[in-house]
């Protein structure tokens, strides 16, 4: 009992993931503790999104183990992992294009059979008032930024214990990025929401996060607190120089 409560919420150990014969993750170790914001930064194609999808069991890790709340989820089907309240706002946002904003949010709340829908939807509308204006509009007709908000809001509607966000800043105007990061920070501070954040936008992500990992070519090469990583010259050279947003 105490072991599960005190151990990390999510523990990834030696995970190897393949796409066919091509290896994408070469043995990854990551911990996310309760109440933390942890970020994973790295270049395009490093395997960040693959790690996120592997945690959700799609694709499954070929080697290694993933535990959530002390429970081995490495071989669990994706929908059962989701039922443990691991929510993801995935790469490409994956909004249901021919469903309205409201229906997309209802899909998020489907796990609880919409039991808390009314109160939760008010909460995400406070975070993203824009969505309220678009409530009857089809997901496919939203702008990129609105879709990003919807993807995050839909993930929040599942009442997650672990919220995983894949590049929430991708392709968005700086002002909206700022809004989204503030929203994440607020949820973490006020509700103790645990967040695992994949970002290319390293500066913002490392400033927001308690801890960070750096991934290169399917391997974790560095880790530390957000501040430590921000100060490392290698990180500055690789991910920040000229990229200060």
């Amino acid at each position: 009992m105490s072991a599960t409560m005190e151990g990390p919420l999510l523990q990834v150990r030696g995970v190897k993931t393949y796409y066919g014969k091509i290896i994408a993750l070469k043995g990854v170790d990551v911990d996310v503790k309760r109440g933390e914001i942890v970020t994973l930064i790295g270049a395009n194609g490093a395997g960040k999104s693959t790690l996120m999808m592997t945690i959700c069991g799609s694709p499954q890790a070929r080697e290694g183990s993933i535990t959530f709340e002390g429970r081995d989820i490495t071989r669990m089907p994706t929908h059962e992992i989701a039922r443990l309240r691991i929510a993801q706002s995935p790469e490409g946002r994956r909004i249901f294009p021919r469903m309205t904003v409201l229906e997309n949010l209802q899909m998020g709340a489907a796990l609880d059979k919409l039991a808390y829908f009314d109160q939760d939807v008010e909460r995400v509308f406070t975070l993203f008032p824009r969505l309220k204006e678009r409530i009857g509009q089809r997901g496919g007709t939203l702008s990129g930024g609105e879709q990003q908000m919807l993807a995050i809001a839909r993930a929040l509607m599942t009442r997650p214990k672990l919220l995983m966000l894949d590049e929430p800043s991708l392709g968005l105007a700086p002002l909206i990025v700022k809004q989204i990061f503030e929203a994440i920070d607020e949820l973490n501070r006020t509700e103790g929401l645990t967040v695992f954040l994949v970002e290319q936008n390293a500066y913002h992500a490392l400033r927001l996060a308690h801890r960070g990992y750096v991934m290169v070519n399917g391997l974790i090469t560095m880790s530390g607190t957000g501040r430590e990583l921000l100060e490392k010259p290698e990180i500055r050279a690789a991910y920040l120089e000229g990229g200060r947003h």
């Binding site: 959700c56 799609s58 089907p77 994706t78 929908h79 989701a82 039922r83 929510a87 993801q88 995935p90 994956r94 249901f96 294009p97 021919r98 469903m99 229906e103 209802q106 899909m107 998020g108 489907a110 796990l111 059979k113 919409l114 496919g140 007709t141 839909r154 599942t158």
Partner: protein, 305 residues
């Protein structure tokens, strides 16, 4: 004018039956992108279920009113046909998911042969007749000795179809199950990430499509009074044509396509040649595929991402 009206009535009746079958094609295609070629034979088997239960109810249980016996037989046929389709999906399609695209298609054609041959062996190769279930007609108008009539059978078919389609529409649009089905249709991976059991949702889609086919099968049996082991093929292909014409993947499209195919067929029979009615219906399929591959209510390929 009289011929036109009469054929309109006949066409809407026939079109209702096609529309009910077409929904099974269109839903399965929408959710897993597969043309379920055994669906026509599932429809045929459902007509045999209806026939067997109808005769059982009339003779053994002694239900005196044929219409009540028919409705009960239809409900049982819906349940059993749903079960049959669930089994087919489990045995013949699910193991092939993730295999190459043609694999489930070939498996479906195989399943179609299995079903029709099984019925041929189990029920015999001849037409199976049932005693008339519903008699009576209403004369709408009469001129020069030609009466435009609508039979009670036709009224029942159109009413039952309308009620079931409305119920079905409600399920797909308003219930959690329908939302999960649409989510799987639009993005299966994302649906799984939100906790939807995709395999179960696909199974239920097969069951729903088959239950509607069973309604069509029961209505077909009542309308024509006979059923035959090979009766799955032509109505099945026509319903598929209807689904393509209406826009495969679209539910209102399937119903519209069904009605159009029914009308084309009956008008062609009324004004030109009854022998060539199938040619007329299938020519439509060819023309639609050439000039309008997405169908009438289908969505265009390109979508804003």
């Amino acid at each position: 004018m009289e011929i036109f009206l009469q054929q309109l009535i006949n066409g809407v009746t026939l079109g209702s039956i096609y529309g009910l079958i077409a929904i099974g094609y269109t839903m399965v295609f929408g959710i897993i992108g597969m043309v379920n070629f055994s669906h026509g034979d599932v429809f045929m088997v459902s007509a045999f279920f209806a026939l067997i239960f109808f005769l059982l109810f009339m003779t053994i249980l002694g239900i005196g009113t044929p219409i009540i016996a028919l409705l009960l037989a239809m409900i049982l046929a819906m349940v059993l046909t749903g079960l049959l389709s669930w089994t087919i999906e489990r045995v013949a399609y699910r193991p092939l998911r993730g295999s190459f695209r043609l694999a489930p298609l070939i498996s479906a054609i195989g399943m179609s042969i299995v079903l029709s041959n099984f019925i041929q062996v189990a029920q015999g190769p001849r037409n199976k007749p049932v005693p008339p279930m519903v008699n009576g007609t209403i004369d709408l108008m009469e001129r020069d000795g030609f009466a435009v009539t609508v039979s009670y059978k036709q009224i029942i078919i159109v009413l039952v179809t309308a009620v079931l389609l409305a119920a079905f529409w409600y399920v797909v649009q308003k219930t959690p199950l329908g939302r999960a089905q649409r989510a799987c249709e639009q993005d299966r991976k994302m649906a799984a990430l939100l906790g939807v059991n995709v395999d179960r949702t696909i199974s239920l889609t097969f069951v729903m499509g088959a239950s509607l086919a069973a309604v069509a099968g029961s209505m077909y049996l009542m309308y024509y009074g006979v059923v035959h082991f090979a009766d799955g093929f032509v109505p099945g292909v026509k319903a598929f044509t209807a689904a393509v014409l209406g826009g495969i993947g679209s539910l209102p499209g399937a119903v519209l396509g069904g009605l159009l195919i029914g009308l084309i067929e009956t008008f062609w029979s009324g004004y030109f040649s009854i022998d060539y009615k199938d040619v007329a219906a299938f020519s439509i399929l060819a023309i639609v595929l050439i000039f309008m591959p997405q169908g009438i209510l289908g969505r265009p390929e390109v979508e804003k991402v």
